[in-house]
Chain length 663, copies 3
């Protein structure tokens, strides 16, 4: 299979958008800029098959030949995210249907039901043709399936039928469905399969077990939709790798199942350019990259990287500040991206995305942003060999789960309680401490980690519990937070004291709980320091655990809020409340000392550190993702990969300054 682990730069290019006379000048300039890879054709269905069965590949042949002539490699997209109008007109079943029965008519893109027979059939046909035509093309190295899978909650007849079959396959009988979903509440029992439908409109709410399974059904639909494409590509193009470009998190999507069939995951990375978000964007961006790396627990691609101000149906964002484009591309590499493809070469002059700016403006006059990108390409090309094969090796992991998120979205727990925002807060605390952190699926093996943080384990099954217990028993430090153990995996409340199946390892019992929501309450640690807490207060009875923080107010003042339990060779913390970031920082810093966690100490605000390690050495990335110039105290001398000079003492990082040091 062609390699996909080069550390290199790319661009997204749409030959079909431009007069053919512009192709060669464009491609020549890409080459000069230092670009190695181009993604094409993922939205070109109407040009590749203008009418049913009328395949037109010659233009794409010419484009691919030009790329090859200039030694650029190409990733092709399968075009199913934008079914053409002849298809949707002839086969309206391609279009998704909302819960109220209204159709999602074609407009911009994404107008595709994953369970549509027509889309599956016509999609397979064109993918087969494309695969056959380009399996041997010397420029083509891989494929992107569809584009930015997302959940639409389609309610069409095909989905209805498929959902019914899915439920039947899972539960067998309606008696079992009624029992596992608890439909008896409010007379929702099914007596005949035809009574069971996807969730239709009108009612302000639905049975939460049913809703969660509907989500699972949809996740499976996406996977099945992709599998059909992958089967063709694997058969016809065995030398080509396959990826998919995920976009902004959190998504209601089983990224792990989608990723399982891919060779490599990809992410579309558009950090917010606004100075008003400067304190949060770099950290939520770091989380997105860590989440992407966790999809397959390996390095990944950026398939679309910020190149200018985004804008579309929404007002345009601020233009990227000088250095921002380069710094965020380096952040992606620092956190495990190998190839970084910028979106897009030049801004579109027509269509709904005209103001989602590329590296070059509509004027086609190369400007500041292309110059910055050119510098970036040259730097990356220079470091490429050294970085190839390097990976992040972290000692801390945060556990993430689309199932937990889906279940917590279905039934909001307390005002201000947000599963993914809670993960963000913890990840930000870890990142600011200069500690590397993986973000992985809840069900992944945990070997090799010293500390695992598992927030809001709302739904549990035995497998999850055993995985966590085994980790702690073997000496790991496990941090668990409130709203854990509340439900079984079918979204039914357990009939035992909380944290339910985690009571054993945490050694605590929740006597009762208080959903304080956006109110600010207080906890106090053993030293008497007060910290704010919000969202939730479990009133804890430590069974065998030790309290380490106590509530400072309300009727449960003085009762334990946070506990720690010795469990096997390890320890299990339980957070009965949502403590402010500062509390996490103090606790995690102590843990880092105690456990001897690898850490880059002394990071100033806005600077992020990470390390890629491989056979060729270890490389420390220091990134100033702020508009202020900062000083980073270096603990010793390093050699900079950027200019091969020595850095030591106080390292000055300009706004959006980047440093790569050999450890």
């Amino acid at each position: 299979m062609k390699r996909y682990d080069h550390v290199q730069m790319g661009v997204d290019y749409y030959p079909e958008h431009w007069d053919e006379s512009m192709w060669e000048p464009d491609i020549k300039l890409m080459k000069e800029t230092g670009v190695k890879v181009v993604r094409v054709a993922e939205f070109a269905w109407s040009r590749l098959e203008p009418t049913e069965g009328n395949y037109q590949f010659e233009w794409l042949d010419r484009a691919l030949n030009l790329f090859h002539q200039y030694d650029l490699q190409v990733v092709m997209g399968t075009p199913t995210a934008t079914p053409p109008r002849w298809l949707t007109t002839k086969f309206p079943d391609v279009l998704p249907v909302f819960a109220n029965g209204e159709t999602f008519h074609p407009g911009v893109r994404g107008h595709r039901c994953y369970n549509s027979t027509s889309l599956r059939e016509y999609g397979s046909r064109i993918i087969l043709r494309l695969a056959e035509r380009y399996s041997e093309h010397p420029a083509v190295i891989g494929w992107q399936t569809d584009n930015e899978f997302g959940m639409l909650d389609c309610h069409c007849d095909a989905c209805n039928t498929a959902f019914r079959a899915w439920v039947q396959a899972k539960y067998g009988t309606l008696d079992e469905v009624n029992a596992e979903w608890g439909t008896v509440v409010w007379s929702g029992e099914y007596s005949d399969w035809n009574e069971l439908t996807v969730p239709l409109g009108g009612s302000p709410h639905q049975n939460p077990s049913f809703l969660l399974d509907f989500q699972r059904f949809q996740w499976d639909s996406v996977v099945a939709f992709q599998t059909a494409q992958i089967n063709i590509l694997r058969m016809i193009c065995p030398e080509h790798f396959i990826t998919h470009n995920f976009h902004s998190y959190p998504q209601r999507l089983d990224m792990y199942a989608v990723g399982a069939d891919l060779d490599v995951a990809a992410f579309d990375y558009y950090p917010n350019t606004s100075p008003t978000k400067q304190d949060t964007t770099p950290y939520s961006g770091a989380l997105s990259l860590d989440v992407t790396r966790g999809i397959k627990r390996q390095n990944f691609w950026i398939m679309e990287q910020l190149s200018g101000s985004p804008g579309c149906w929404m007002p345009m964002w601020r233009t990227p500040y000088p250095g921002l484009i380069r710094a965020y591309a380096w952040q992606a590499i620092a956190r495990g991206a190998d190839t970084v493809v910028h979106f897009r070469w030049r801004s579109a002059i027509s269509g709904a995305e005209q103001f989602w700016h590329g590296l070059i403006d509509h004027s086609n006059v190369p400007g500041r942003r292309l110059a910055e990108f050119t510098q970036l390409c040259h730097e990356v090309n220079r470091l490429s060999d050294k970085l190839q094969g390097t990976m992040l090796k972290n000692e801390v992991a945060i556990l993430h789960s689309h199932e937990e998120k889906a279940a917590l979205d279905i039934q909001p727990q307390a005002e201000g309680f947000d599963y993914y925002e809670n993960i963000k807060q913890i990840h930000r605390a870890v990142t600011k401490l200069g500690i590397g952190c993986d973000v992985i699926d809840l069900r992944q093996p945990l070997d090799g980690y010293k500390v695992v943080i598992a927030p809001n384990l709302y739904l549990l099954d035995e497998e999850i519990v055993r995985n966590l217990e085994d980790f702690a028993l073997a000496g790991g430090t496990l941090l668990i937070t409130n709203r854990s153990g509340v439900k079984n995996i079918n979204n039914i409340a357990v009939m035992q004291p909380l944290p339910g199946q985690l009571s054993y390892c945490t050694g605590v019992e929740v006597l009762e709980y208080d959903p304080i929501g956006v109110e600010t309450h207080v906890i106090v640690d053993a030293e008497g320091n007060p910290y704010e807490c919000t969202q939730w207060c479990d009133i804890l009875r430590p069974v065998v655990a030790q309290p380490i923080a106590w509530y400072g107010d309300d009727f449960y003042r003085g009762t334990p809020a946070v506990t720690v339990n010795s469990f096997g060779k390890g320890q299990v913390y339980y957070f009965g409340t949502h403590a402010e970031e500062k509390y996490w920082s103090v606790l995690l810093e102590n843990l880092a000392k105690e456990k001897g966690l690898l850490r880059f100490e002394g990071l100033p605000n806005g600077v992020q550190a990470s390390v890629r390690t491989g056979d060729q050495g270890s490389f420390l990335f220091l990134l100033n993702l702020s508009r202020e110039s900062v000083i980073v105290p270096l603990p010793r001398e390093y050699s900079s990969l950027l200019d091969n000079k020595i850095r030591s003492g106080e390292l000055q990082l300009e706004p959006y300054g980047v440093e790569v040091l050999e450890i």
Copy 2:
């Protein structure tokens, strides 16, 4: 008929939600807790008739027998609020239709069109069977019709046809309809009956006379829907009383007509648990209880009482503070509830209402809330005999009308003008003064009251006017506010100076008016004290009335804002503006002195007083519905019913403290 006037406690229990092995332990514990009554089966249709005509009553027999065995009495619900899926699938006409033509599909509950022939038919069938089976059951004492009637504004074909018939019955001819609704405006005249439909979607507004009659039609539909059920129950179960559980006010519902057919009204009482609402919740709660007592002008039941944090499709509320559950149950009794049924025994482990917490948590471990409830049950049981037959006898009444509310909702008068909020403000002022107050339908006889407050009498007919005039002529004190006399009962503006038909008794004329909305203006009383006013300013010409407050600003500065008129043996006040609560307090306090109104003076903030009186004596309830400890100055010695000890001087009430004193 079985009695429904015991002062006692109950719980809502759903045997069908739990494994049958849990029934007896549950019921045994209820018994020990002090519970006397259980409500069952109001959502059990799918379990009672799992498929068409397949009635399954054996499980309910067993449950009822168990209740009887433990000497608990049972109120049964008719199950029509949750039509089962076999019914809605087979007869989609059961489902309501929105104005835009979309269907209200089954989801949680309330998916029932009151005019659906199928629902009426299948509903009658199962009610008949239930009635026949349980009319003689020794545990069963009464019935609840449906559950929490509410207005859905259904627009289905059945409603369309029924509405047309309703209009025809009311007006006879289309000429009369056109005349009475004033449809000539904007060419809305009907020339054929088939042109007349329920209000369909699209237009931002509709003819207000038409909309008001559509509301009336829907109110009548609810009544007719209930009447069909009541006819069956009265025939088969003559010994059983019938109630219905109204929920949060204001509702667009003719509670008075629904209540007319009942033996006793019931209310579902969920006071807000948030400390941020602590200043308003106790008073809006008091109003809700007074409104419920006013439905039939007699004592009532609470059919669902707060037992834990509510939560569902919305985030969970705060858990009830220690004492809150008990205090609010006592508040209900203090204001006329006889039986108080707590919702629910144990939180559901499945379904959409999992987090609407019961007295016992999912864990089934009895905790703080059940302990508090147990104390409450024992107290109530101890006082039960003394309180039986006692009622509130108030000298002040506030007049309420669903018709006024509906009309004022159809045409908002000014920003911030809200009919029910205005009632709340006045009721709060009265309650804080320690004066008992009834809240009754506008059309009720007013004998026995000394002071009647009638806000915003927007729609008027002769009957209403005569009722009010007669009250004042006979010596009563009547308080009328702005936006009175604006319309005839068909929502057509009257062609005479405001307050229209009330000009005679008020002795004022509104020269013009200024909808000031949320702006704050000023009125000044005879002593020169300024008060804020909002919403509305009538510029008054006192014809024979005396001004008692004047505007302090704007172009009508110095003109009268509030007047009083001697009328017969009584007095009629007219409020041209919406004065702040403080103005009402001062004015009402003066009135209380002048008229010698019964009053408990000196109530600290957060404490409410009320008196139940009967053959066995008079009992004063003092309730601290706040989180602060307070001192209530007692004017003399009393004996406490709670511990039979003497109270005098400064009575300390702990947070959520309760006192019941013998007068």
Copy 3:
């Protein structure tokens, strides 16, 4: 043709709303009040044709005869804005359809699809009958077409078919459509005409070129709808003038094309009565009047003028402050209104507009507002002869375009960027300086102006560019702002540096831009004075222009923000950013001096000045549109037209005071 240029007062009256016995007293009182004109019948279809073909004109005959008897002139409305129920029931194609397929059912008014065959047919029939019946009636002088045309974005079958034909007529082939709309982006290419539809629901956005043409199609639909009516009226009633009443701006409507077929334009003027909007309402009102005068570049009518508090489905507004009704009527005349018709004589007692108050309240007791109106009528009648034929002759124009607005609405540029609000700001600056200003269609000839301000010329074609260049070449001063020259007229981005086709005359090049949105940045002028700027920052390279202001912050600090270029005999300014009003004031004041612009200097806040000039002289209007008394310094002696006395020195204007001075 009957004259429509009398300076006179009128009222809107609905004989069909009132008992016939009230007509003569009403009309007699109108006469006494000083009214000269009445508008009738624009919503009377159901009374004129109660059932299909059953025409009932006798009642209208009697009303018109009464008007004639009292020497009042009548403007008749064509009744198509309120199709009667028999029509919409029989021909549902009359009703508009939303993008999601839902119908706009009859409710209040405006339930009419402009492309409905049935509406066109039945509308033409009744208009023909009305025209024939009243062409010779001595009272009737003219017609109003329909009422308040507005865009509904209808998506019915008729619109779909008509749109397809419209596109075909414009572009000929689908290849051309695909090319001109750039549909290749996201596979949106059409391969068959039946794939092309109006924009249907579901997608969050659409192709912007397609959306813009859909807007144009709808504008043309309105024009065609009106043309069909005008053709009948011109043929049958050649002596009657024709107008249409536009309402609040901005509208998505081609007012210029609608106006082209009219003899005179009309406006419905409802200035906001709230004191909280006192600083903006007088200026946005002035702009509305100037926009209306610009529709045909001639004097106009007010067909509905504020007479009391408006209210309807929204809460009522404040009642007009004493003097407000009169002052705003004078403002209309001061800015080019000849006839001012007040809406409405008396408030409706039924229907959805009951609280849109007329001059007389429901009570029918004449009050303060009618008294003020009576004074106004007498003043106007007294000045009528002098003012007849006078017009505003301004030296400054602001260019306005519904196309620019539509395109900028389709793709919002930056948060806070609003095309019409930007015009408002500039117009307010000009007005506060005491400079008269026309607001005209972008494509109008510019002869006679000294200064032309053309904000946000986003879409351009050669005609527009040449018009602007010619103006400047000939010596005019042209002010152009950012987001100009971005697109061709089909909403496709141009592939040249901005401001695109305006680069030549402005002499600048936009190197890049920064959509700063609602952030506040700083520019500094040559004197070092700082001013705030928002929305947008073009980073400019002056090619031949001179910079006159520079950015004061961000990474482009010190680069030019505003430039001026000598161009032929004139000058062209370019504003790269949206400067605050103060900057505009300073710059325009300097320009006024430099160019010797006519100006009334020294206006206090809240006072507006304008001049009407004709054969009979020039008349200066000074209007205090505030609630404060103010002093206006007069530069010399004037004779007042109101009382024929001399004014000089410090002129005191009471709240809402009016002065008309002979120059």
